[in-house]
Point group: C2
Chain length 191, copies 2
């Protein structure tokens, strides 16, 4: 049998797929190995443990979300950027429901991966820098900046989580609710 050199990458891709199809909890080395066409213990050449594999997924999710947000807000600022940012967040959550628990976990408290490469900038920090840039037009002091950021993220994250787990449990269109929510948000922060 020929040796593959891309198993690490394929492992992550397939793990994300599994998690999105079956939920964050049901990640399982046995079936993961099967899908990769290798035996379970061979996975330990690519991760230290199931827990550490989850850590890898958390880092990956943060990276991807951050990148999606960066792209969404690129070249925009103020209200336009925030709207675009919020929609990108929601879209990422819709496309990656299994990773929602992952993006709620701060990578700051995780052991570093140093598994292969990684310059290891805190995803949280990057997230904040980007947000600060977007919020500049609103001319807020630093405290308000933090509050508004927490509000925005809470709002959007909460919405996506509840939407995905059918927590809303009502027939009304949730797209409309989302737009409505963002509008109220701007009315609230524009004094």
């Amino acid at each position: 049998m020929p040796r593959r050199t891309d198993t690490k990458e394929r492992m992550l891709v397939i793990a994300v797929k599994m998690v999105n199809e079956e939920g964050w909890d049901s990640l399982n080395l046995h079936r993961l190995a099967k899908k990769l066409g290798i035996k379970t213990p061979s996975l330990y050449n690519h991760c230290k443990s199931l827990e550490q594999l989850r850590h890898q997924l958390i880092y990956k999710a943060h990276d991807e979300l951050l990148e999606a947000l960066r792209i969404a807000a690129d070249g925009k600022a103020g209200k336009e950027a925030i709207i675009s940012w919020a929609h990108a967040y929601r879209k990422y959550g819709k496309n990656n429901p299994g990773l929602l628990p992952a993006i709620a976990i701060s990578t700051d408290n995780l052991p570093p991966l140093n598994w292969d490469d990684l310059p290891e900038k805190s995803a949280n920090e990057l997230f904040l820098n980007e947000a600060m840039r977007i919020l500049k037009p609103f001319k807020l002091d630093e405290n308000e900046m933090v509050h508004i950021l927490r509000m925005l993220r809470s709002m959007v994250h909460g919405f996506v989580v509840l939407e995905q787990s059918a927590g809303f449990g009502l027939p009304q269109d949730s797209n409309e609710s989302f737009t409505w929510m963002m509008d109220r948000f701007f009315e609230g922060i524009a004094q």
Copy 2:
């Protein structure tokens, strides 16, 4: 050994404790049985499976949260009720971090427990009735009522989830952020 008649109740209480101490995922029949002073298979006299035990916890969490919210808003209406309601939600989340995933899951999609008693009113429905009552003073049409409710719940739920999982990752006081957020919310919805 004397037979106990309260094992079902103790099982739930201890399960909640375990979940709050170690996280929703780490619920484990082996240790649960140990804490109850019985052997693992004996648990099957009190639940159909680990999955069904989780369902019981979800129902319980919804009931408890709902009750806490009801008490918080009791005798109040409008802004005062909503503020009180939001703080009660946050408090419940703080005291029951392990149940946060549970309260995000709609019981509507769960198989009914019919395990012992249960009049089985949808917790979601109760939640909505209560909320509608509170929001009456704002004189909103039905659609707006739904939107505002979703916004409120998203905001508060998201805040609590991110706060608990250290997702905010900043030194600023989160109590202040919470109050700030609720203030902005009212400015947003008061037109």
